[in-house]
Symmetry: C2
């Protein structure tokens, strides 16, 4: 597949900044050689690193700015005083058509606030969501929202179901994605009123996938669903809990392998197999928080990720842009909004539409 695209990069974000962004972009070129980049950041710092990457140098433009958004900057402040920041200029590039997508590993709240303000939502979309792909014991699952919206209502969650299902269709190639709504149990009576109402709406509306009903936390990793929909509070806690348990498992495994000479020898013998598993579950290959529902592709790379993770975030953004994710979303959201059963939750709104 030929990725004839331009990717805008915020070079000033994340724990490793330029040292992850530049090598990451170069690495991305290895699998997507047609990509071009516009790199926003401090040119004096970018050029010396770029000098080491001849291939990338030929395929990128550097736009200088010495303004960066810090990790602890409040989104409202970043919006007001960050107009010349690398993050903002990179987002502007998408808005103004000079790039097809933007990737940043900077402050998530600021990135979302700026992306919302500059790119706006796709027509009909109430609020964007943050989505990520997670590994399971079978094929991957896309989970959303992971933190953009602490409180959600039925219409938002229903739209998230569409966003997730379109992702599974367009990027993962699953024709009828299975969509689950995260709850504390699978029975109809479980959870709060809003969730039960959402399940009722999702059962009624025509979706680009199959609604499974409620799913539980354990279903995030067992492959039961292709799309898992939840509010940003629950999704964020679940994601970080999963991260913590994965770290704990690794910690105990390492300890076991070091606990006796036999185990150490065993570890040596099993080394290749374990390395393969580690790669399969490597969070760097699952890096890329997709901001879905915006009128422009914006992907957040994990702040702590290295160049391998950043290259993956570029791949995620390029896939979304290349496969026309937003065009499909626009069609499906229009289709959703034309259905009467979408509006059961708010009679006033239904009348005014």
């Amino acid at each position: 597949m030929s990725f004839n695209l331009t990717v805008a990069l915020d070079a000033m974000g994340g724990d490793h900044g330029i040292e992850a962004v530049i090598p990451g972009a170069d690495l991305a070129l290895k699998t997507m050689p047609e990509l071009k980049f516009v790199i926003y950041g401090d040119e004096g710092k970018i050029r010396p690193v770029l000098a080491r990457y001849a291939n990338l140098r030929k395929r990128c433009e550097v736009v200088h700015t010495d303004k960066a958004i810090s990790n602890d900057e409040k989104p409202a402040i970043a919006l007001r005083s960050g107009r010349q920041s690398s993050m903002r200029l990179a987002i502007n590039a998408v808005k103004e058509g000079r790039a097809d997508c933007i990737v940043s590993s900077g402050n998530t709240g600021a990135l979302m606030a700026m992306a919302k303000m500059v790119l706006k939502c796709l027509p009909g979309i109430h609020r964007p969501a943050i989505a990520s792909v997670l590994p399971t014991i079978s094929r991957d699952t896309v989970v959303l929202d992971l933190g953009a919206n602490i409180v959600c209502d039925t219409e938002m969650l229903t739209q998230f179901a569409v966003l997730g299902a379109v992702y599974a269709r367009v990027v993962e190639g699953i024709s009828a994605p299975r969509i689950g709504l995260l709850n504390v149990g699978t029975e109809d009576m479980k959870g709060g009123e809003m969730l039960r109402e959402t399940a009722a709406v999702l059962s009624k509306v025509k979706l680009p996938g199959k609604f499974l009903g409620f799913v539980e936390g354990v279903d995030i990793t067992n492959g039961r669903a292709d799309v898992i929909v939840t509010d940003g509070f629950t999704g964020n806690v679940a994601l970080k809990t999963a991260e913590g348990v994965a770290k704990m498992s690794e910690y105990y495994m390492r300890r076991a392998f070091k606990s006796s000479p036999f185990a150490m020898l065993g570890a040596l013998l099993a080394y290749r197999s374990f390395k393969k598993v580690k790669k399969e579950l490597d969070p760097r290959y699952y890096n890329g928080g997709m901001f879905l529902g915006l009128d422009g592709i914006c992907v957040k790379s994990h702040g702590g990720s290295d160049h391998i993770g950043f290259a993956n975030a570029i791949k995620v953004a390029a896939e979304l842009a290349h496969r026309g994710f937003n065009d499909r979303v626009a069609v499906e959201i229009e289709q959703l909004m034309s259905q009467e059963s979408f509006f059961v939750s708010d009679i006033d709104e239904e009348e005014s539409v």
Copy 2:
């Protein structure tokens, strides 16, 4: 320590019923030989199994009932029509002073509804919570609420912090337990209004522990906190997500060990070390959902657990009863309720107190 206690057992709950309860009670006697049991259930089914356990037979009484609460029974129905059920009779035994605690592996919703109705809350407690002890990379963490209350307010969460801290003090022996409030980030501005208000109250009131502020999902397993407080919806999703990731890790590990002859030999060599780790993290040794805040000790054993898990749930209940958990809670809750800063969230209520 001498556990001179009587434990009421609901023998009719869980996937394995009597086959987990009877061997589980016998196993519990191995470490707590002073325990006595009152076993509620179908005597015709209990006696043949009990015949295999001479030790337990000498230390138990069987009370016959052939009524059982099924797993899909709605709590409201169970309350009305389950008056002669094994679950209800076992709870009654605690209420009437014939037992010091009750253990059941039956329907969680029904058990909570019956326990609340029969035992009532401790004075001052608004709502009981379900708590469980989870492994971390250092010492264990107690997490609550895990599903009793889908929606919580500041006063409930503040009381849960006290319940968890008293548990950590009395059972785990931690003099100043570190208490974290689960959120999507650690900064003060994160999360919804109610959570920020709860953090403000927890910072002001005198607690039987040290309030850390907000913690994240990853902190559930990294040992940063001894007590993690959250609402029952988030706690339930986090717990089941953790369960799912642990299963996935095990799945990938098994696959790695089977993937080549070298890895299989490695697995043989590391077998003992891995068995040790598996035991350290074995969910059966972390079995026992404690219903905290009730005027009587009630512990829920995991429905799918075997006799080892059930024995652990008995141990958890016996510990709570033996160490006078509820007496300590009563003192600490009275102390909490006497503090003006506990009531900031509701001015009307403050005035009426």
